[in-house]
């Protein structure tokens, strides 16, 4: 079924989605929309279903209820849709001591496009280098992936997700387990990709304060609770208490909400 496109800029429409694993419902009644060029942050406590939602969007988990439409196409056509989505998984899932140079890792993002029994050509190598330039890693193209720091490796993974020119970039906690300098560098790159190159971004993060300045909208998740809107609409004390519990405090920091956990007097 092809959904009626309400807005030409609408890229993803998630409506009443329930996701889970055999015998367990992780998320239910999820509704939100993503428009072209938006930077959306998905936040929530551990086990709130953030990564599960990304798996659902990628078609790695079947929908138990609801619908997802990507640019008007039904989610059943996930194999076609996936080619238009770039994905950066959580760090350190793969063997980063693998014998590969940085440019070879980025080139892997084009392998499906290149096709079976064909070898990468000059144009593909140029695309890989261009993608590395976009994340500020071109000078590292000839370095082994295992010799880079955690933050640099994560930037290479972003370059790999970008190399096939996706319409949507999904990132699962790209700044987890890297130091604060690397976190800032990664966020600056994502902001540049979003603001200057118009790439639509959907990013999971465990740290609200880290992404609140970068995001146009926030999806606050916890099981069957999902609150979606601008950071100022979503990150209110009542909403955060509903998701994180009582020991939460929100104050205004230069027009942006800033969240603290602990016992604070009002």
């Amino acid at each position: 079924m092809i959904a009626e496109i309400q807005n030409i800029d609408q890229l993803v429409s998630v409506s009443g989605v329930t996701l889970g694993y055999p015998g367990v419902i992780a998320l239910s009644g999820i509704d939100f929309e993503v428009h072209k060029g938006e930077f959306i942050g998905i936040v929530g406590p551990n086990g709130s279903g953030k990564s599960t939602l990304l798996k659902g969007l990628l078609g790695l988990l079947p929908l138990q209820a609801g619908t997802i439409h990507f640019h008007g196409s039904d989610h059943q056509q996930i194999r076609l849709i996936r080619k238009r989505i770039g994905y950066v998984p959580q760090k350190n899932k793969n063997d980063l001591q693998f014998p590969a140079l940085v440019r070879e890792v980025v080139l892997m993002g084009l392998y499906a496009q290149i096709g079976w029994l064909r070898q990468p050509q000059k144009i593909h190598r140029e695309m890989a280098l261009e993608s590395l330039k976009n994340v500020g890693m071109a000078e590292f193209s000839e370095r082994p992936i295992g010799e880079l720091s955690g933050g640099q490796q994560q930037r290479v993974m972003i370059a790999r997700a970008l190399v096939a020119s996706p319409q949507l970039l999904l990132l699962d906690e790209p700044t987890a387990s890297v130091d604060i300098y690397a976190q800032r560098a990664i966020l600056e790159i994502l902001e540049k990709l979003n603001r200057q190159m118009g790439i639509t971004i959907l990013m999971v993060s465990h740290d609200i304060n880290e992404i609140v300045h970068s995001c146009d909208k926030i999806l606050l998740l916890n099981g069957n609770v999902n609150i979606f809107g601008t950071p100022n609409q979503v990150l209110t004390k009542d909403n955060l208490k509903e998701v994180y519990g009582d020991r939460i405090y929100v104050y205004d920091h230069h027009g942006h909400p800033h969240v603290l956990v602990g016992d604070f007097s009002e």
């Binding site: 990628l58 790695l60 194999r79 996936r82 080619k83 994905y87 998984p89 899932k93 793969n94 063997d95 693998f98 014998p99 590969a100 140079l101 070879e104 890792v105 892997m108 993002g109 392998y111 499906a112 290149i114 079976w116 029994l117 070898q119 990468p120 082994p144 295992g146 010799e147 880079l148 720091s149 933050g151 640099q152 790999r160 130091d179 300098y181 690397a182 800032r184 560098a185």
Partner: protein
Amino acid sequence: MSELLAFGFVQKGLIGAALIGSICSLIGVFVVLRGMSYIGSGIAHGCLAGVAFAFMMNWSPLVMSIIAALVMVVLIELISRKSSLKMDTSIGVIFSIALALAVLFIGMLRKYTPDIMSYLFGNLLRVTVMDLWVMGGIGILVAILLLLFFKELQFSTFDPEMAELSGIPAALISIMLSVLMALTIVVSLQAVGELLVLALIVLPASTAYQLTHSLKRMMLISVGLGVFASILGLILAFYLDAPTGSTIVMILGITFFTALGLRRIRVQSKPAVNSLNKN
């Protein structure tokens, strides 16, 4: 040396050494990078059951060991995919049963069969012209498939989840690799024996891994080492009157520890990088 080459069985042994050395060390690169050594060990034990059954029934040991190896691959894949058991547990279950079957079949043989011993310990100097043809055929098949699917193998070895997501059938590639490994083990059995075939698969690739950061170069170094150690091992075994399989593995063991030492020296002599520049 020239008097050595005058013997027909030595000539066949040397060709066999070069073939086995190259096939095992080529497939070994992906076995090492994917952590599949234990599957290799399981398949090798499974082959012995096939060989013992073949001797019992008076059938071809080669055909029966191929069937046994492929049955092992299918059963290991099926159990690990269809049950909640981890891969190493399913390998442990299947290879214990296969080994028990091998012992059972050997016990059921009413007469002493020295050929069974050659499948356990191997002897390169006993390879026949027919063995060489089979080794050559399997070697060409392995080399062609690894080269044709190089980029798919590279991606699905480095990051199977992302490879699958991008449209590369990582599970199918994994099964193809298991089948190629099974065939490699089968054709190497008579030459190096069930107990040492895994060493010939794992050691050259592990040594090459210490020496390079490029997958293509790792494949080249691994094959070079595999061929070098197999030929040198055969010659030394001839002069020292030692078992060929163990001589080859001892040479590979020495090269492995040398490479490990070289890598440690290289890592320690690298200048420290300023962490502020490593974001």
